[in-house]
């Protein structure tokens, strides 16, 4: 038996999926969720094999919800996004359905799932690591901390620090871990506001109060919070460029 969950903020949209699933008795829908918060909870509880996921939803969107999951199920996106926007995700071969979709198209997506489930899973990972983003994601980062979901607006980030497989996001409310790479954030954060000053650090330039020389060709950036962040030689060059020095 395949366990599945439907996550969409519109009841009618969920009912289409349920209706189309009636011919697939091997798939059992364990729960329907109204938004990403409910989705995370349900997925952690039921550990489904497959989820049907809308992208535009209240509070956090479908991608942000996936980012919060440690173990990611196979995903079939069902969205009303226009084709132009979806092009970016297409290259990752995650299957997606454009609303409204036919039963035939839906069956095809399921077929793909049955034949290539492991591949789909890998592609979901790849998709999440790519810097392709929705507009809302350029304004905030969603993290999970002690079972709770926190939304961090980008301007409130003080600096980012590499921590093994994770990135530690420092804000004035504390620090949060996110399983992305430094390279991802360097690419995704607004380049006139955030500078990768060091292999392991990205700074919000608004927070810098002083830059001091420090050993040989290195520097230290002193932030308003008092934090002292290493700045490498090449990082110093990038920093000067952004600050217009």
């Amino acid at each position: 038996m395949i366990k599945a969950i439907i996550i969409d903020d519109e009841p009618l949209a969920r009912s289409v999926v349920k209706e189309y699933l009636q011919d697939h008795k091997e798939i059992e829908v364990l729960q329907e969720c109204n938004d990403g918060f409910e989705g995370v909870k349900a997925i952690m509880q039921h550990k489904p094999h497959l989820i049907f996921l809308d992208i535009q939803m209240p509070k956090i969107n479908g991608f942000e919800m996936l980012e919060l999951l440690e173990e990611k199920p196979s995903v079939i996106f069902a969205t009303a996004f226009d084709e132009y926007a979806i092009k970016a995700f297409e290259t990752h071969a995650v299957d997606y359905l454009l609303k409204p979709f036919t039963k035939e198209r839906f069956d095809k997506a399921l077929e793909k799932f049955f034949n290539h489930a492991p591949v789909l899973k890998k592609n979901t990972e790849e998709l999440l690591q790519s810097p392709t983003q929705l507009p809302s994601q350029s304004e905030r980062i969603v993290v999970k901390t002690a079972g709770k979901i926190k939304i961090i607006p980008i301007p409130e980030i003080l600096y980012l620090e590499a921590a093994d497989d994770y990135v530690k996001i420092h804000t004035k409310d504390g620090s949060f871990l996110k399983n992305k790479t430094m390279g991802f954030f360097e690419e995704a954060l607004p380049k006139n506001q955030f500078v990768r000053t060091h292999r392991s650090y990205i700074i919000n330039v608004q927070e810098i109060t002083r830059i001091d020389p420090y050993e040989k060709e290195n520097h230290l950036a002193i932030l308003r919070s008092g934090a002292r962040i290493p700045v490498s030689k090449s990082g110093y060059g990038k920093l000067r460029e952004v600050l217009g020095l």
Binding site: L12, S15, V16, P58, D82, L98, K99, I151
Partner: protein, 346 residues
């Protein structure tokens, strides 16, 4: 603010040249009457410099105050008074400089009416030119605003069709219809009808730029009804029109982006039961429409960046009425309120 005609270099040149010719002629005539060149030149220089001053004074005054139509008596009065002051002042100054020339003094007294007439004519001409100039500029400004307003409303329509209807509203509505066809075919039919009426309404508003509040509210009602099919379980709407029967007017499609904005923050970005309300009333010769929606302060911050929706409304109102205070927004705890005033044409 209208710019003075003397701001352009060409005007300045012509102005200076005319005065120079006039001054030379003036001196020549006096010399011809038998006065020495010294007296003639002094008279010409002082009288004409003062007259230049008076002319400039008139242009500048009219730049800030143009009398309403058919009230040009004010200008005539102004010119007469200035001409009189000018003659008396130039006489005093010229006599002061050329002291002891009694022949000149009696000549001045004799030529007083002529000088007064010349002064009145020249100041009058200057006033006329200025009034014409400023009126034309005003007209051009109004014309420019009007065409820009028309263009913007066209752009907004196109934008609506391309951007706002297509990806979310239109396809999600079609998806809902798809769902209803299976379970409630009658309901699906109703929704197709509503969607068609709404789209037709959006397309039709091409040439008639102003519409009645009643019509606009009907159009919004259709839009909200469609959203209710999609989110009926948690969306309720409240439309209150206190102006029924007053036939108030407003620019077509003005409220649509405001309500779309309310739906975007109030419905798409929230999870609980919500109410979106639209209230219209008449206040002091204005139609006042207030749209309010809840919002989630955790994910949305309506204070910064009003988005395409509201900035285009603001711009359109400015182009139509040359006022920036007609659109106002406020947040009241977790409710976002947009207030629009539309001055009514008499």
């Amino acid at each position: 603010m209208a710019t003075s005609p003397l701001k352009t270099v060409r005007f300045k040149l012509v102005f200076a040249l005319c005065w120079a010719c006039w001054g030379i002629l003036h001196a020549y005539v006096l010399n011809w009457f038998g006065f020495s060149w010294k007296v003639a030149v002094w008279d010409s220089v002082i009288s004409n410099l003062l007259l230049v001053g008076v002319s400039l004074l008139i242009t500048v005054t009219l730049q800030f105050y143009i009398p309403q139509k058919n009230r040009y008596g004010y200008i005539l009065g102004l010119c007469s008074v200035l001409a009189l002051i000018w003659v008396l002042l130039s006489r005093t100054l010229v006599v002061l400089i050329i002291n002891g020339a009694t022949a000149y003094e009696s000549f001045f007294s004799k030529s007083f009416p002529v000088r007064l007439a010349i002064g009145f004519l020249i100041t009058g001409c200057m006033a006329l030119i200025s009034v014409l100039w400023y009126t034309v500029q005003d007209q051009q400004e109004i014309e420019k605003r009007k065409t820009e307003a028309e263009k913007l409303s066209k752009d907004a329509e196109l934008y609506k069709l391309r951007q706002q209807l297509q990806p979310h509203f239109l396809f999600n509505s079609l998806n809902s219809i798809n769902a209803l066809i299976g379970s409630q075919p009658q309901q699906a039919r109703t929704m197709i009808q509503q969607l068609s009426d709404f789209l037709r309404g959006t397309l039709r508003r091409d040439d008639n730029q102003w519409t009645t509040l009643e019509e606009e509210l009907q159009h919004l009602q259709l839009y909200l009804e469609i959203e209710k099919v999609r989110f009926g379980h948690r969306l309720s709407t409240l439309i209150k029109d206190e102006t029924a029967g007053l036939k108030l007017q407003l620019p077509a499609m003005l409220l649509q982006p405001v309500v779309e904005n309310a739906i975007k923050f109030g419905l798409y970005d929230t999870t609980g039961d919500i109410t979106i309300s639209i209230e219209a009333k008449k206040d002091d010769g204005n139609l006042v429409v207030q749209v309010s929606n809840p919002f989630d302060p955790q994910t949305a911050s309506p204070k910064k960046g009003t988005g395409f929706g509201l900035s285009s409304v603001q711009r359109r109102l400015y182009l139509l009425f040359a006022r920036n205070d007609l659109l106002q927004t406020q947040t009241n705890e977790q409710v976002f309120i947009t207030t629009i005033k539309i001055p009514q044409q008499k």
